[in-house]
């Protein structure tokens, strides 16, 4: 009983502290972002400059973010969805329109990138944050005499040493591109062709893996993997990076863009604009790109970058943004993918 009383006293003492720390004083901004997607010091400097405290919460998938927002928003001001989810959230009127006149740095974004956006034409509700694509990584100490093409997955001599992502859009997107179709192709006949391509690749693959492939690639276990450069290079020993040939297949590939969006009903809209404009500043954008080792969609930021990114912006020229497929087409993709995964 004594212990219980002590516990209650302890709780009673801690509670006001935690409450005051999230309710007190100055301006605040609630950011709901991908995990490890923005360096902490950028957020700290933003607070130093503006006095606005940034409260960050993170997610690991668009679905996770979306479900949390739909379930009640949890009071976030800014979210960072990928392209397909930007259009889903616009359709669901979950996003506040963006008034670009309040963002004096918006012009820094590469017009070439903006021109390819289909999920929010004219960026009425979203501001590009980062873009990139999954590519193919090859361990050149084990594999030679290959082309920069999806056809690498056709090679039976590499059987048991290759993986592709456990990701419907990425794998079917790769197959669609290898056939010369769009990664968002809605034609069932094209999709069936793409499925057969993946079925042809499948016997050569060890597995479809989006979780552990980079570790095994770094260990020399797998020699050819489809995946994001940042995952691969995070695991690969720094001194042996030259062994890895990371490329985007010449036929093209699915590409993603994550964008800053203000949630409908956000309480701190002014602060949100201030934050987005801060992120668009060349020096800040360069720091973020350095941290992620990705090319920046922010043109003046590219000259300020200090780290060699994993690939250049121009490498993405053949990429195509993944758009929301709509319910009917999504069903076709799901069916094709399920047949591939389960084996008919």
């Amino acid at each position: 009983m004594k212990k219980l009383v002590l516990l209650l006293v302890a709780v009673a003492m801690i509670l006001p502290l935690t409450l005051s720390s999230c309710g007190g004083g100055g301006e605040k901004l609630y950011l709901f972002n991908w995990i490890y997607y923005i360096p902490d010091d950028v957020l700290e400097d933003f607070t130093k400059e503006t006095g606005i405290e940034v409260v960050v919460d993170s997610y690991a998938s668009n679905e996770e973010m979306y479900n949390k927002v739909v379930a009640g928003g949890a009071g976030y001001d800014i979210v960072v969805p990928s392209g397909d989810y930007v259009s889903i959230m616009i359709a669901g009127s979950l996003l506040e329109p963006i008034d670009k006149s309040r963002l004096k740095n918006f012009g820094n974004i590469d017009p070439a990138a903006i021109a390819r956006i289909g999920f929010d034409v004219g960026n009425t509700h979203s501001v590009p944050y980062m873009m990139g694509a999954a590519g193919v990584s090859i361990n050149t100490t084990k594999v030679s005499g290959y082309e920069h093409s999806w056809s690498i997955f056709d090679r039976p001599d590499l059987q048991g040493r290759m993986t592709m992502l456990d990701d419907m859009r990425e794998v079917l997107g790769a197959a669609l591109k290898s056939l010369g179709y769009s990664v968002n192709d809605a034609d069932p006949a094209h999709l069936e062709e793409a499925r057969l391509v993946v079925e042809r690749w499948k016997p050569n693959l060890v597995k479809f893996d989006a979780e552990a492939f980079a570790k095994s690639f770094a260990a020399g276990e797998f020699w050819v993997v489809q995946g994001y450069a940042e995952n691969v290079f995070l695991e690969y020993p720094e001194d042996r990076r030259a062994e890895v040939d990371f490329f985007f297949p010449k036929e093209g590939m699915p590409m993603y863009m994550d964008s800053l969006c203000i949630l409908k009903g956000a309480k701190n809209v002014d602060q949100a604009y201030e934050f987005i404009d801060y992120i668009l500043r060349p020096d800040v954008a360069a720091r973020i790109a350095d941290y992620l080792m990705l090319p920046s969609p922010n043109v003046p930021a590219r000259a300020l970058m200090q780290v060699q990114p994993n690939y250049e912006f121009t490498d993405l020229a053949n990429g195509e943004f993944k758009e929301d497929l709509g319910q009917e087409t999504l069903k076709l993709y799901n069916d094709a993918w399920r047949r591939i995964r389960v084996g008919n």
Binding site: N67, V206, A212, F222, W337, R341, N344
Partner: protein
């Protein structure tokens, strides 16, 4: 023992209230949500729409699901059988050993390490460039690394490894209570070693065997992480299917319906076992129920 708990003046109901509330809030309520969702229409963007339909159950009739279910049953039955074959002698040895505490601790030690880290350890051991292949190559036993991982066998191996302690512990605690002089009696009465074990020991520890079976079969039937990490392109199990339907295909009713299948299969299994074996399955006082039968068997063996 004639008074029922919770009646009359006993405060049993009060004692049980916290766990009752806990179970109904965190077990029954989610289950009710799953049941309800499985009869609804998938929302365009995940979630559900409130119009009832049987579409999800119709979709399950698809041969694809049959194939995954069969694969899941094969893996679960196989892994459980192997687990039991290892666990019963282990439990027996532990119960008879003088170093019970040390052995018990050795069984518990794996729990000190995170489950996922232990799976990654298996990858490090069995991988193409793993420890075992390095050893085989350096001994010259093979000239090309053997692919141990990424197939059904690897999934079963790691599942057996993971759930072995869950089988050993209930078996050990049951065998520990077993009166070993019964075995001697059976031998005295002419039973061979094997028949003494089959006809005296096994019937007496039936409760522990069934508990161990349930503790391994049910979690293996819903396995997710192991097939994901050490499975290959063909090692897809129901757990993975549910996760994919929920997160990737955004078809919550279908995911719920598949969960219902798992729940029904396991519940049905438990009920059948309970019916066939009385209360002994739940680790109740199996001595009362099983011992007379065991004695009768011992006599039978003697005859």
């Amino acid at each position: 023992m004639t008074r029922l708990p919770g009646t009359a003046k006993t405060p049993g109901g009060l004692y049980a209230a916290p766990s009752l509330v806990w179970l109904s809030v965190f077990f029954l309520a989610p289950l009710a949500i799953i049941v309800a969702y499985s009869f609804l229409t998938p929302g365009a963007l995940g979630g559900v729409e409130w119009s009832p339909t049987l579409d999800a159950y119709r979709a399950i009739a698809n041969p694809t699901f049959g194939k995954v279910t069969v694969n899941t049953i094969i893996v679960a039955m196989g892994a459980t059988a192997i687990t039991m074959l290892i666990a019963i002698p282990c439990g027996y040895y532990m119960a008879r050993s003088e170093h019970q505490n040390i052995l018990l601790m050795l069984v518990m030690i794996p729990f000190w390490t995170n489950f996922l880290i232990r799976i990654y350890a298996w990858i490090a051991i069995l991988g193409n460039e793993g420890f075992l292949n390095d050893l085989l190559l350096s001994l010259g036993l093979v000239d090309q690394s053997v692919r141990f991982l990424y197939n059904r066998g690897a999934v079963m191996l790691v599942l057996v490894y993971t759930y072995l302690p869950y089988a050993i512990l209930p078996l050990y605690s049951t065998i520990d209570k077993f009166d070993f002089s019964l075995l001697e009696a059976a031998r005295d009465l002419g039973a061979s070693k094997m028949s003494a074990i089959n006809r005296v020991l096994l019937p007496n520890i039936r409760g522990g065997v069934l508990t161990a079976f349930l503790f391994t079969f049910i979690p293996i039937f819903g396995a997710y992480a192991v097939p994901l990490l050490v499975g290959g392109t063909e090692s897809y199990m129901l757990g993975n299917l549910i996760a994919d339907e929920l997160t990737k295909s955004r078809d919550w009713p279908l995911a719920s319906a598949i969960s219902m299948v798992i729940t029904l299969v396991t519940t049905l299994g438990v009920l059948l076992l309970l019916r066939a074996n009385g209360t002994s399955v739940l680790g109740g006082d199996d001595h009362e129920a099983a011992e007379p039968a065991g004695e009768a068997d011992a006599l039978g063996a003697a005859r």
